[in-house]
Amino acid sequence: MWGSFQAELTKVVKRPASWLLLALALSLMLIFAYLVRYASYAGGTGGVNTAGGLAVMLPDRLVGNSIGGLPVFLGALVLIHGVLVAGGEYGWGTWKTVLVQGPSRLTVYGAKLLALAVANVALMLAMFGVGAVASATIAAAENQPLAWPSIGDLAIGFGAGWLIASMWTGLGVLLAVLLRGVALPIGLGLVWMLAVQNLLASIAAPLLDVVATAQKGLPGPNAGSLTAALGSATTTPGVERIVGSGQAAIVVAVYLVAFAALGGVLLRRRDVV
């Protein structure tokens, strides 16, 4: 298993797409959590997204700002990463190349999930790091005190962010295994995250009680509830307090386990073609 994990991690680290997605995630977080808000604040053009003014950009809001994008747009990026890591093996015909070397399907699959979990730790470290630098820079520019969240809050926020990112990655892996490729899983994943979730939340849920109730069990709204509970601005797409943080964390964790397990079962049972 250790060798398979090393192999999978090597593939993730050496793959240019991994770095491109990381750069995109950091850029989006930096632009929408800090640059746009600060430009609005500095230019005096405050609107709904700058509610709270300078305070929302300061270091004590680091946790919320770092994980606020994960329910939707950063989630979409990590989902794409999951699809690429598992689906690329189909496109390049490398499942057979790997499996005839001898490891079991579940060993390779487990190693893949483990490598993605490590990649998500790196993503969260980068998000928190870049967010810390941005918020400290703004605080210094505005002569504000550097008041950081407590270690406990940082740890909880880091863990929650990793959990949400890993859930979306798991969904990406599941879609890739289910559809044996890259393009369709990415397309369907993005349609779900960027369109269906929004339509359900903004159109269907206010009109139909059954949808509003169902929302409480879906992955996106629970991820949004978790980030909202940890300080993410509710003006961020997908961030909304629909359920409590405890339930949200449990539901997200259950989805992570379910996606991973279902993908493993499918990969084990089906022929490698």
Partner: protein, 299 residues
């Protein structure tokens, strides 16, 4: 089932389609076994079942005495349906990644790169490789574990004549080194020159399994003489009518080639002018077409 590869009643169905139908195939230790069949005959499906990549609907497979599957391919190297590698990695890094799955030492990577003559280009990205280099990297990956059994699925596919010649030399060398090689090929000449035995598959069924010589059948002696009817009458008297066939402007005699000189002498003594007398073997392609139902596009 002590042979490196043995299948018994191996069958694979996809709905109503029977891709492989009750194949009993045996590859003996140390031989180079050629697996022939037209496109869609079931060759790759059979090889995939042998390697545990797809599950048989029925039947049994033994590879090196064990059923294929996780942890059971330690002595097996394979290149199936063309090379599949990570395009963003170099050839060497691709092999490093594969070596990590099985704990193969790094030194082995350089050794196999040398064996397939790819050491000079090993640092180049895979996506920059020519088809021939990709195939050779596929063989290198198959050799990583220094396997007892090598399964190669059409390794010369898409190669130019020089590349094909190189690949054949390599396979011959690997076979001579004592490895058992199971080779599927779309080139009859290749199989003829490399393989000890062949199996012919058609419509999912193994229709023949023997040495190339056995597949061809016994050789005959061809005679072109003048007058032909007088020559035919004489050799019928000498050999028996059942051994003589008039065919394509000559006589086809069902006797071994070492009797050719004697037959020549009898014909000349009988006042018959002999213009051609030679050993004649059945063309392997003709045998193949006969076995597979006359499809010319072999694959």
């Amino acid at each position: 089932m002590k042979e490196p590869v043995a299948t018994k009643g191996l069958t694979k169905r996809y709905g109503d389609l029977v891709a492989v139908d009750g194949v009993d195939l045996t590859v003996r230790s140390g031989e180079v076994y050629g697996f022939l069949g037209p496109n869609g005959a079931g060759k790759t499906t059979t090889l995939r079942m042998i390697l545990g990549l797809i599950r048989p609907t029925a039947g049994a497979v033994r590879v090196l005495g064990r059923p294929p599957g996780p942890g059971q391919l330690a002595g097996v190297g394979a290149l199936i349906e063309g090379p599949g590698f990570y395009p963003y990695l170099s050839g060497r890094d691709n092999l490093r990644v594969l070596a990590r799955y099985t704990g193969v030492p790094v030194a082995r990577i350089e050794a196999v790169l040398e064996m397939v003559d790819l050491a000079d280009r090993a640092s180049d990205r895979y996506r920059a490789y020519s088809l021939g280099m990709k195939q050779r990297l596929g063989v290198a990956a198959a050799l990583l574990k220094d396997p007892q059994l090598l399964v190669l699925d059409e390794p010369t596919n898409g190669l130019d004549p020089a590349g094909m010649a190189e690949m054949r030399t390599l396979i011959r060398r690997l076979g001579a080194a004592g490895r058992t090689v199971l080779l599927s090929s779309h080139l009859l000449g290749e199989v003829e020159h490399i393989c000890d035995r062949v199996g012919v598959i058609s419509h999912g069924r193994l229709v023949a399994e023997s040495t190339v010589a056995e597949l061809r059948g016994d050789s005959t002696v061809r005679v072109v003489a003048d007058p032909l009817d007088k020559a035919a009458e004489l050799v019928r008297t000498l050999l028996g009518a059942e051994r003589v066939r008039v065919h394509d402007g000559g006589l086809e005699l069902a006797v071994s080639a070492d009797r050719a000189a004697w037959i020549n002498g009898e014909l000349v003594d009988g006042g018959i002018a002999v213009s051609e007398l030679r050993r004649h073997e059945r063309d392997l392609e003709a045998v193949f077409l006969e076995l597979t139902g006359g499809v010319r596009n072999v694959g």
